[in-house]
């Protein structure tokens, strides 16, 4: 529950826009979610849903020239990260909150060996001798399944999966309280993805950290998260436990997403895609951003949608969600 002591991260009504040559792009339009200690929350959405922008805002890494937080707060252990001055935020970043990016090829410094890169993360936050830092870097490499002897090698000598392990080692070397993983396995092959997901889950328990996992892949969420928040057009439109959302998706967009995915365990003759496209962030509709593509849309959908609690923390930003739930329970849908 928001505000309770086991809440680590509490994002409320976050609004972020980008200034561009074409006008103001409204990337995030009132995102709210909470992350409890020890929990893994999946943040799911398609391109342009605002997942990465949300993560960058939490990290204080929005592009300074163009990105603008217009409202809301991000409480981390009760402290608003959005109002934190530059220097305290820099100390937090990497120490208490760290991030793994999608592409391990560009996240590493090509002219620095991987051992130094891990040690550097440690030394920029803790007063520790060079030799002790190097020793910790070696331990960290072993923890992610790379022999410590490879600490002197450079990124180009590692495969994609191994590079991502190095990035994870850098992110976790300071034992952060929160790890934000932004599509950490999207650039990897599926058998390597399975290895890396297993690794992240194991380390998360060992280091006792909480995780915000950003992905477009609902299967990855099912495998790694306890709760999930579905984003669309800069808002969380449905949130709940994995069982709540996967067994009984109540927002029509979530329902549409599941219909679009061919699944290995099911026989589907034909997919049921969602027609149309996500609305243009330069001219968002006043009401529900999904209404134009929604099969259940009614005139009432053109009003702004508030979040409806459907019980047990399962929430959907659709005024018809309770109706849909009741009709589905009665076999009407």
């Amino acid at each position: 529950m928001p505000g309770s002591t086991d809440t680590l991260l509490d994002a409320r009504d976050l609004i972020i826009s980008y200034d561009t040559d074409n006008g103001v792009a409204r990337a995030v339009n009132g995102v709210s979610f909470t992350l409890r200690r020890g929990e893994t929350l999946g943040l799911v959405g398609e391109t342009g849903a605002g997942k990465t922008t949300t993560a960058l805002a939490i990290m204080g890494l929005l592009p300074e020239e163009t990105g603008r937080v217009e409202g809301g707060s991000v409480l981390f252990e009760g402290e608003d990260l959005l109002t934190l001055p530059r220097e305290p935020m820099r100390r937090k970043r990497g120490q208490d909150i760290s991030m793994v990016f999608q592409d391990p090829m560009t996240a590493l410094n090509p002219v620095m060996n991987v051992g130094e890169q891990i040690a550097e993360a440690l030394r920029s936050h803790q007063s520790i001798s060079v030799s002790a830092a190097n020793a910790r870097a070696g331990d960290m490499l072993e923890m992610v399944g790379i022999p410590r002897g490879r600490a002197v090698e450079y990124p180009h000598q590692f495969s994609g999966g191994m590079k991502q392990r190095v990035v994870i080692a850098i992110a976790l070397v300071c034992r952060p309280k929160l790890l934000i993983a932004d599509e950490p396995t999207t650039a990897l092959d599926v058998t390597i993805q399975a290895q890396v997901l297993e690794l992240i889950a194991r380390l998360k328990t060992e280091i006792d950290t909480s995780m915000l996992l950003i992905t477009h892949d609902l299967g990855v969420v099912a495998r790694t998260c306890q709760r999930v928040a579905i984003m669309y057009s800069g808002r969380v439109i449905e949130m709940g436990t994995i069982e709540q959302v996967f067994d009984d998706p109540l927002h029509p967009y979530t329902h549409g997403l599941f219909g679009s995915i061919p699944d290995i365990t099911r026989e589907t003759r034909r997919l049921t895609p969602i027609d149309g496209l996500m609305p243009d962030p330069f001219s968002l509709p006043e009401g529900c951003a999904f209404a134009a593509r929604c099969r259940h849309a009614l005139p009432g959908c053109c009003k702004p949608q508030s979040e409806v609690d459907l019980g047990g923390g399962h929430m959907a930003a659709c005024w018809r969600a309770a109706d849909i739930k009741a009709r589905r329970a009665g076999g009407g849908l």
């Binding site: 999966g161 477009h216 699944d263 997919l271 496209l277």
Partner: protein
């Protein structure tokens, strides 16, 4: 305009012992190493495997975009690897390809109209672009593009629409066979489903035959009549789709299926976590190329090449231990 239906017992396209080697400073890279398959008219063969398994090279070699080092490619029974260039060019109209990235496979300076009309001009069906208008609009309608976008440039379109333009261009010459190389991998899931359904509808409407290349086993299961699983240049298992998923026999196929995260949270999935990563395809040693990562590897798996065996009708597997009903410990 389509040829009279040919003998249905002859596959539309067939690869026999297809090999494609590349010279590299480190030695011969065996990108494709003895791949054979046959696809009947109106069917889809899904080729699935991870980066570096040679699936894209199979597609390119099949269309003679990268002529094979060895082996035969039979299109309606004729070996096209031996055809003179001029005849091959005529044949190319019938053999098309759709690439993964609809951004880099469209010329940014050509409008939608020009892109779709281009193959018609190259093959001399129309002499001037303007005359192709009726045909271009018809093709746009077939792939679900509104007339409104006819004069737009690729950068003005989203990924899904761009891929529709690529598909319309591939259809312009009334092909019989299309290689689809990861056609939906660059797209968001809701758009993916639209494009997959479009490809399916086109297949039913005009009897297209597909080679569908992807790393996504779920997509290939949904889409294909038969599946070939590739690992380091070789097909390790091939079968009709239902048989492959009911009874996967090769340990790599089983690992691949088990690695796919499913959205069905109540499904019981076998969990086989592979060790290590794909090895180098340069100068491979004889024997099973998967042995190094295989949890069931035994001494007899290496040293000599393993021929594929027929486990059940149409289901072939190249594994020394497929009969043993192995379970991971």
């Amino acid at each position: 305009m389509r040829d009279a239906p040919s003998n249905p017992s002859i596959p539309l396209i067939e690869a026999r012992g297809l090999k494609k080697y590349f010279d590299t400073p480190a030695g011969k890279l065996h990108a494709v190493d003895g791949v054979s398959f046959a696809i009947r008219r109106g069917q889809t063969l899904g080729v699935v495997g991870e980066s570096g398994c040679g699936k894209t090279t199979v597609g390119r070699a099949l269309l003679m975009l990268q002529p094979p080092t060895d082996g035969q490619i039979l299109f309606k029974g004729v070996d096209i690897t031996r055809l003179p260039q001029r005849e091959l060019k005529g044949l190319r109209a019938k053999l098309q390809i759709i690439f993964q990235d609809p951004f880099s496979s469209l010329n940014p300076r050509m409008t939608v109209y020009e892109a779709i009309a281009h193959p018609l001009i190259i093959h001399g069906i129309y002499r001037a672009s303007a005359r192709a208008e009726g045909r271009v609009l018809k093709l746009m309608e077939m792939v679900g593009l509104t007339r409104r976008v006819v004069n737009t440039y690729p950068h003005e379109l989203d990924g899904g629409r761009r891929q529709r333009v690529v598909i319309a261009r591939a259809l312009a010459l009334e092909p019989e066979f299309i290689v689809c190389d990861e056609p939906v991998s660059a797209l968001d899931v809701s758009i993916q489903a639209q494009i997959l359904n479009l490809l399916q509808d086109l297949q039913e409407a005009i009897g297209l035959t597909y080679l569908f290349i992807t790393h996504n086993l779920a997509v290939v299961k949904h889409f294909s009549t038969e599946i070939a699983v590739m690992y380091l240049g070789q097909v390790v298992e091939s079968a009709p789709t239902a048989a492959l998923f009911r009874n996967p026999l090769h340990p790599y196929t089983r690992a691949l299926i088990s690695a796919i995260p499913t959205v069905n949270i109540h499904a019981k999935q076998e969990r086989i976590l592979l060790r290590g990563e794909i090895a180098s395809p340069v100068n491979p040693l004889p024997g099973c190329r998967f042995a190094k990562r295989c949890v069931f590897a035994a001494p007899r798996c290496v040293g000599r090449d393993l021929p594929a065996e027929e486990a059940e009708p149409g289901h072939r597997v190249a594994c020394a231990r497929w009969r043993e009903n192995l379970t991971p410990t």
